[in-house]
């Protein structure tokens, strides 16, 4: 192993990145840009859902009910409909996402403590908005009915504190406001730090396409020297991102880093090593940059999205998928980032993930060196 050979390749690679400004910016800041984009795109708070109301009862009670469910910013009344046909037309045009239909006799039935008929129609083509509206309406309706009943009982001289028999007190630890962003961003970090691996996957194919690999293979450089020399610049790029991305998360998204930054940095370096190894394998097998790009998305980002537990809890996946996820460095790193950011855990909890990432990295690198041949075809 000649350090001089490795250093020569590294220097050449750095020159290649630095001398083309667009390459430089892309390589350095893609993770940051993607993090910003995804953090905003994926954590939109639902509000101002347009709904229509069709009130067949037209009583004071039904008016009060409508006011109760539309108070606040969650639902907006788009129109007061006068017939089902109108509601149908508004749903078809996408003007409303839900409709509330109050049957005749609403006030009377409430007074008589009978089953109160209430119909909600939602637009199933946009389940998120529809479900959100239903949840909201059901909650407000329950409150409304609770209130009405309590008042009625009080009028009859019965005073009770609450109609709810269960005294439920939920405590949310680590993320007290249950802000999705607080949980999502540490997970996203593990995904966006995969981008330097994409660059690594492309670099060998780039040399193949430009014919420079032919000249390189005619020199006495060994396979390991070549691969190591090529990976070093991207480790540096990765570590640069490991520093700026937490800073961005803290300064911009106000996410508190509860654990040790040093531990985060160290474990991130191990993650970089293993994910770059994965990129190298892609680069070794793919002959063109287009193919390397496609395969990178297939093995680096696609499973990163669905299998590492960033968006879908690992526990609810089938066993095969969970097993497969164990071989993705991102799965372990997502647990590391969430662990260090939110509860602020230390190495006593995180060591198994560190061991897994390190092990995967060594295996990936070895496989890349094994399958890379100093031949043209």
């Amino acid at each position: 192993m000649s350090l001089r050979h490795i250093w020569a390749v590294t220097r050449k690679e750095v020159n290649h990145i630095v001398r083309d400004r667009s390459t430089l910016i892309l390589v350095l800041f893609t993770p940051t840009l993607v993090l910003l984009l995804m953090a905003y795109a994926l954590t939109v708070d639902l509000k101002n859902i347009p709904v229509a109301v069709l009130d067949f009862d037209r009583s004071q009670t039904s008016q009060a009910f409508i006011q109760q469910i539309t108070a606040g910013q969650d639902l907006d009344i788009y129109a007061y409909a006068t017939s089902m046909d109108e509601i149908n037309a508004m749903l078809m045009r996408g003007q409303i996402k839900a409709a509330v239909i109050i049957a005749p006799g609403f006030a009377r039935d409430l007074q008589a403590l009978k089953g109160i008929p209430l119909q909600v129609i939602i637009d199933g083509t946009e389940p998120e908005s529809g479900n959100f509206a239903v949840e909201h309406i059901v909650q407000r309706a329950e409150e409304f009915i609770d209130d009405a009943l309590t008042k009625q009982l009080r009028a009859q001289g019965i005073v009770i504190e609450s109609l709810q028999p269960l005294d439920l007190r939920v405590q949310t630890w680590y993320n007290p406001d249950l802000k999705p962003r607080n949980a999502l961003i540490p997970g996203l970090i593990s995904m966006v730090l995969g981008f330097p691996a994409l660059s690594v996957a492309l670099t060998l194919a780039h040399e193949r396409e430009h014919g420079t690999l032919e000249q390189l293979l005619a020199t006495p450089i060994t396979r390991a020297e070549l691969l190591l020399g090529k990976i070093v610049p991207y480790i540096i790029v990765g570590l640069f991102n490991v520093i700026i991305i937490p800073l961005l998360s803290i300064a911009w998204f106000h996410i508190s880093l509860n654990g040790s930054f040093l531990l985060f940095f160290g474990l991130s370096a191990i993650f970089m090593f293993s994910v770059l190894g994965m990129g190298m394998i892609v680069g070794v097998f793919m002959r063109t940059q287009a193919a390397a790009l496609a395969l990178s998305f297939l093995v680096l980002f696609f499973p990163g999205f669905f299998m590492t537990g960033i968006f879908f809890p690992l526990a609810s996946m089938p066993e095969e998928a969970r097993l497969e996820a164990m071989f993705l460095p991102g799965t372990h790193y997502a647990l590391v980032t969430r662990g260090i950011f939110l509860p602020g855990v230390g190495m006593d909890v995180l060591w198994p993930y560190a061991v897994m990432m390190l092990g995967l990295g060594v295996v990936f690198m070895a496989l890349a060196a094994l399958f890379f041949r100093k031949k043209l075809a």
Binding site: S2, G211, L376
Partner: protein, 308 residues
């Protein structure tokens, strides 16, 4: 002299084609060996095999005594290989490219400055040493590529069409460099589509459909041409060409600018006949003579014979 490159029934298959088909070749130390043949004859594959860049499908090949099937890596410090397409780093400068390959070929740091300077002078690139490779002309790029393959003073040079796409002056300069290296004792194997370049080699191998169909000195190859060449300088050369190419005994008719080269079975017999026909047809000509055969004629007639 012992053979420095030796192949025996060398075969290289690609998915659908056999690019090199049973090549047996022996090249001695110090030769300037020219590899010629039509496009697709297997010249590039042969050079890549000899440089250890491709696996051998069947047969044997040894370079500097190292079996290429077992020890392809062992030859790399001793050979300089120059690919047909430009394969240096275009975003690096002339000097950086040289240094990069010097480091990969383990040129000692103390020799570095002296050697790069000498090669830059040799290739006429001294004043361009800070220029990025992408901004060099085609001819300069070729000379830089050659300089990079010479940086470790290899015993064997494998050059794949080093002058294709280069202007005539650069081409001549390039060959002057090769001749100088040849005189210093470097073994050179060069593929070329140009017959005048083949003429400058000490030995020429003609490849056709993956096989070595002829291998001899340029002089002997020229002599193998059966028949003679008659050169005619005619006024209306197109009409003259039409007329004479149909005559008996004419095997080939080629044009070089305005002069017509006829390959005939016997010059002495056919020259008077052709003169007679030209006069009869009222075709004016400035001169008609039996000319010495050139590599080009020999090459074309050999290929035509193989194609038939």
């Amino acid at each position: 002299m012992p053979a420095i490159i030796e192949t025996k029934n060398l075969i290289r298959d690609f998915k659908k084609t056999r690019a090199v088909d049973g090549l047996t070749l022996s090249i001695e130390s110090g030769e300037l060996f020219g590899l010629v043949g039509p496009d697709g004859a297997g010249k590039t594959t042969t050079l890549r095999l000899l440089a250890g860049l491709l696996d051998i499908s069947e047969g044997d090949a040894a370079v500097l005594g190292f079996d290429l099937k077992e020890k392809a890596e062992s030859i790399k410090p001793h050979i300089g290989y120059m690919a047909q397409q430009f394969s240096l780093y275009s975003e690096l400068s002339v000097m950086e490219n040289l240094q990069f390959f010097a480091e990969l070929f383990d040129v000692e740091s103390k020799d570095m400055a002296e050697r790069t300077e000498r090669l830059l002078t040799f290739a006429g690139l001294t004043e361009f040493k800070k220029r990025r490779a992408m901004n060099l002309s085609g001819g300069m790029q070729k000379k830089l590529a050659l300089a990079c393959t010479l940086i470790h003073e290899p015993q064997i040079l494998l050059l794949d069409e080093p002058t294709t796409g280069v202007d005539p002056i650069s081409r001549r300069e390039f060959w002057n460099i090769l001749t100088e290296l040849h005189l210093r004792g470097t073994t050179i194997i060069v593929s070329t589509p140009y017959m005048d370049e083949a003429d400058r080699c000490s030995r020429v191998g003609l490849m056709y459909a993956g096989k070595l169909v002829e291998c001899d000195t340029p002089k002997n190859i020229r002599e193998k041409l059966e028949g003679d060449v008659i050169e005619i300088q005619a006024g209306d050369w197109q009409k003259a060409l039409e007329t004479v190419s149909a005559l008996g005994g004419v095997r080939e008719a080629q044009t070089y600018g305005e002069s017509i080269h006829l390959l005939v079975d016997s010059g002495e017999r056919r020259l008077p006949e052709i003169e007679r026909v030209l006069k009869k047809e009222n075709l004016a000509y400035r001169s008609i003579r039996i000319a010495p055969a050139r590599m080009e004629e020999a090459f074309i007639s050999l290929i035509r014979k193989l194609e038939a």
